[in-house]
């Protein structure tokens, strides 16, 4: 019995609702304990400051006075969460695979690296201009019925649908 429960938590993939419940509960829990909104992407500003401490940028100076703020600890925690999950489920390992992208496109490694770096750059830039990401806008914002977050999320999805289908037809043979 206990072994079966532990197995379904640590080894078997979770059903959608289990992930949704845990992630959704973070919204009220973070307000209860810290009066703080769930959000990840702003913390990348802390990472910019950590990596490039000598750059004198107004926005970084004003918004990230405390370099090692709670946001950095949240980021470190998420990395650790992925590590712990993959160790328990037996999936941990350094791998150059990225789903069907690497299995079908068969690009040389440097091309893959540039591809993911470019995708990441658009995410980083877009998240700051939009004022948040999937966690801050799509989950926290919509859970609080914020109009701005609903509007932003619709355009997150439109961009994602256009980009993923374009990549699909250009590089991944069209068919799923």
């Amino acid at each position: 019995m206990i072994a079966a429960i532990l197995r379904s938590i640590f080894v078997e993939p979770w059903p959608f609702w289990a992930g949704g419940v845990v992630i959704g509960m973070l919204v009220p829990l973070l307000y209860y304990y810290f009066n703080t909104a769930l959000g990840v992407s702003t913390g990348y500003g802390n990472l910019v400051k950590i990596i490039l401490p000598s750059k004198n940028l107004q926005w970084i100076k004003a918004k990230f006075a405390e370099t090692w703020s709670w946001r950095v600890f949240f980021i470190i925690g998420i990395v650790l969460g992925g590590l712990i999950s993959s160790i328990f489920s037996g999936n941990f390992g350094f791998t150059a695979e990225m789903g069907r992208f690497t299995s079908i496109a068969q690009w040389p490694a440097p091309a893959n690296a540039v591809y993911f770096f470019v995708g990441g750059s658009l995410i980083g830039l877009g998240a700051r201009i939009a004022g948040g990401c999937t966690s801050g806008h799509s989950i926290h914002g919509i859970a609080n019925l914020h109009f701005s977050s609903i509007a932003v999320t619709i355009f997150f999805l439109i961009g994602g649908i256009i980009a993923a289908n374009t990549v699909q037809s250009l590089f991944l043979g069209g068919a799923w």
Binding site: Y32, I78, L80, G132, F156, G159
Partner: protein, 138 residues
């Protein structure tokens, strides 16, 4: 609760849940965009419903915040460039099959290209900071 340690712990829970439910899988994120697999959409919808219900319960508490201060819900204003910014984010989301949270989980799981996506996100944030020097309306 110490805020930094608390966020470290909640971060572990967040990353663990993202990884267990498969949100760090390229195929699951892209599958949602090309209409092949809607599991991730259901994760997000469930999280929104649970988050909404939890906030309603929290507002009924006589002390909604443990420290006793009044509950302060952060509202993100819709600014002039928010919508184009959201579309740029979406394009990056569809290209890389990751978002700012799930990419960290990918890195924890040992996915090498996740590191490149993450480095790109730091670079994109840096580009924003540079643009903001001359464009305060961004």
């Amino acid at each position: 609760m110490n805020k930094k340690l608390g966020f470290l712990g909640f971060g572990v829970l967040f990353g663990f849940a993202l990884s267990r439910v498969g949100a760090s899988e390229y195929d699951l994120i892209v599958g949602m965009f090309i209409g092949q697999d809607y599991k991730l959409a259901w994760v997000i919808v469930t999280a929104i419903i649970v988050g909404f219900a939890g906030m309603q319960v929290l507002k009924k508490f006589s002390r909604p915040v443990a420290s006793g201060e009044p509950l302060k819900i952060s509202y993100k204003e819709l600014k002039r460039w928010s919508i184009p910014g959201a579309a740029i984010f979406g394009i990056g989301w569809g290209i890389s099959g990751a978002c700012p949270g799930t990419v960290l989980t990918q890195v924890g799981e040992g996915k090498i290209y996740g590191l490149f996506t993450m480095a790109g996100m730091i670079c994109g944030t840096y580009i924003y900071a540079r643009l903001k020097e001359s464009r305060p309306d961004l």
